[in-house]
Amino acid sequence: MNTTWKRLSLGMLFVAALPLLSQTAKDKAAPAAPVHKQAGNISAQTSKEHDGQQVWEQNCSRCHNAPQGFSSRISGTIVRHMRVRAGLSKQDEQALMRFLNP
């Protein structure tokens, strides 16, 4: 029983350590600003909205259709819910927030 718990604890710690390792690597490699393939002729604001739309299409709409409209006062709550459910990164969360509140 104790051995099982030790293994479980080690496993949990290993899983928890994975993002820490990647976080360190990402912090070093993260560009100052996101790179946009179509950045030549669209404004920065539109580009950010495009990012948010991409986050929506690639994460949220994998499971469900877009709600047919909701109050902007709950957009932050929806985005936080999606961050937990869909495992969104912090950047994706912010892009989605901008997309829902252009």
Partner: protein, 358 residues
């Protein structure tokens, strides 16, 4: 059944483990404290959502009627905490047999009631009663306003530890996300509870998902271990593909348990390429699912007692104002007899702030 002392000891260990995880995560979280986007305070209003549905299912000439309500609430607390819950309330009207008319049964249950703490950009700590992260159906497709077909897959019982919910702690989040790949994970431990509304088994497990944005392909693997008698392992894997060029969903899943195994493959194609998704034709969504389960030995895992195949043909219609009509026909093949299943559903999804604002 656990004694109260064992239960307390188990919960103590779960709590200690969560504290250990929190401690190990503290340093990076201090370095990169997760700050919410600006100007979001006015948008963090608690919400009430959910679905209201009327289901019918005709199997072997007997029709069951099931009005169902699944309320959901999400309450943000400060910049890093979210409380969320979902419940199911249903009344089932079904024939008694022998020409004695209909009888009813009702069910009230809590799918989840959890507190999420966004600890760092990559770590969210979850405590409470939560959906078990095994496969894709349990966490993603059980809401009645999302499911394409009324019945869940036959293999649902593998890895979901009986009730589909756990009571304890979970750590989850995004490992990395860039233009080429997005990796996320979930790991949990659960105590056993026998309460009818909040039932769970003593178990542990986790999931790892990789999503390739360019190919729009998701691949994942799940593991679950039942820690109470009879101790057993379950493994699963899934592949989802949602091509961006056309509105197709291709979902598939395989799971292997101690007594059985199985797979399902589901496709759905929204006809929105015909004059847009708000047109008469564009609101239609044909659905097809094929699934198969194999019984290796007798067991109470919720899967059919004999090898079974089932195919579902569905046609969903997305009406305005968050209303949809789901219809389907299924043919089930097994050595105990084949059967036809006809199902319909009228579903309304609601979503609004918990209170009126200025």
């Amino acid at each position: 059944m656990l004694s109260p002392l064992s239960t307390h000891r188990f919960l103590g260990r779960v709590f200690a483990m969560m504290l250990a995880l929190g401690a190990i995560c503290l340093v990076p979280s201090l370095n990169a404290q997760d700050t919410p986007p600006q100007n979001t305070a006015a948008r963090d209003i608690p919400l009430i959502s959910g679905g209201l549905a009327f289901f019918t299912s005709t199997n072997g000439g007997n029709t069951t009627y099931t009005p169902t309500l699944t309320p959901l609430t999400a309450i943000p607390v400060g910049p890093h905490v979210l409380f969320e819950s979902r419940a199911t309330l249903l009344e089932s009207f079904f024939p008694q047999g022998g020409g004695k008319g209909y009888t009813t049964a009702h069910f009230v249950g809590l799918s989840y009631a959890q507190i999420d703490y966004i600890f760092s950009p990559h770590i969210t700590l979850v405590g409470g009663h939560f959906l078990i992260p095994f496969g894709t159906y349990n966490e993603r497709l059980t809401p009645i306003w999302i499911m394409n077909l009324q019945d869940g897959p036959l293999l649902y019982g593998i890895g979901t530890m009986g009730s589909g919910s756990g009571t304890g702690g979970m750590v989850r989040g995004s490992i990395m996300a860039n233009d080429r790949i997005s990796l996320n994970y979930a790991a949990y431990v659960s105590a056993g509870t026998s309460n009818e509304q909040v039932s769970s088994s003593r178990s542990t497990g986790g999931q790892l998902n990789a999503f390739l944005p360019n190919a729009r392909l998701e691949i994942g693997a799940s593991y679950g271990r039942l820690l109470e008698h009879p101790q057993s392992n379950a493994i699963g894997t899934h592949v989802w593909w949602t091509p961006g060029a056309f509105p197709l969903q291709l979902r598939s899943e395989y799971a292997h348990g101690p007594h059985s195994q199985g797979y399902w493959v589901e496709t759905a194609y929204r006809l929105s390429q015909f004059n847009g998704d708000q047109s008469t034709i564009g609101r239609l969504e044909p659905v097809f699912r094929i699934q198969q389960t194999f019984r290796n030995s007798p067991g109470s895992d919720g899967l059919p007692a004999t090898d079974t195949q089932r195919i579902d043909f569905g046609l969903d219609y997305h009406l305005p104002h968050e209303v949809r009509i789901n219809t389907s026909y299924a043919r089930r093949f097994s050595s105990t007899g084949d059967s036809n299943i006809w199902e319909t559903a009228l579903i309304y999804r609601f979503l609004f702030p918990a209170w009126r604002g200025k």
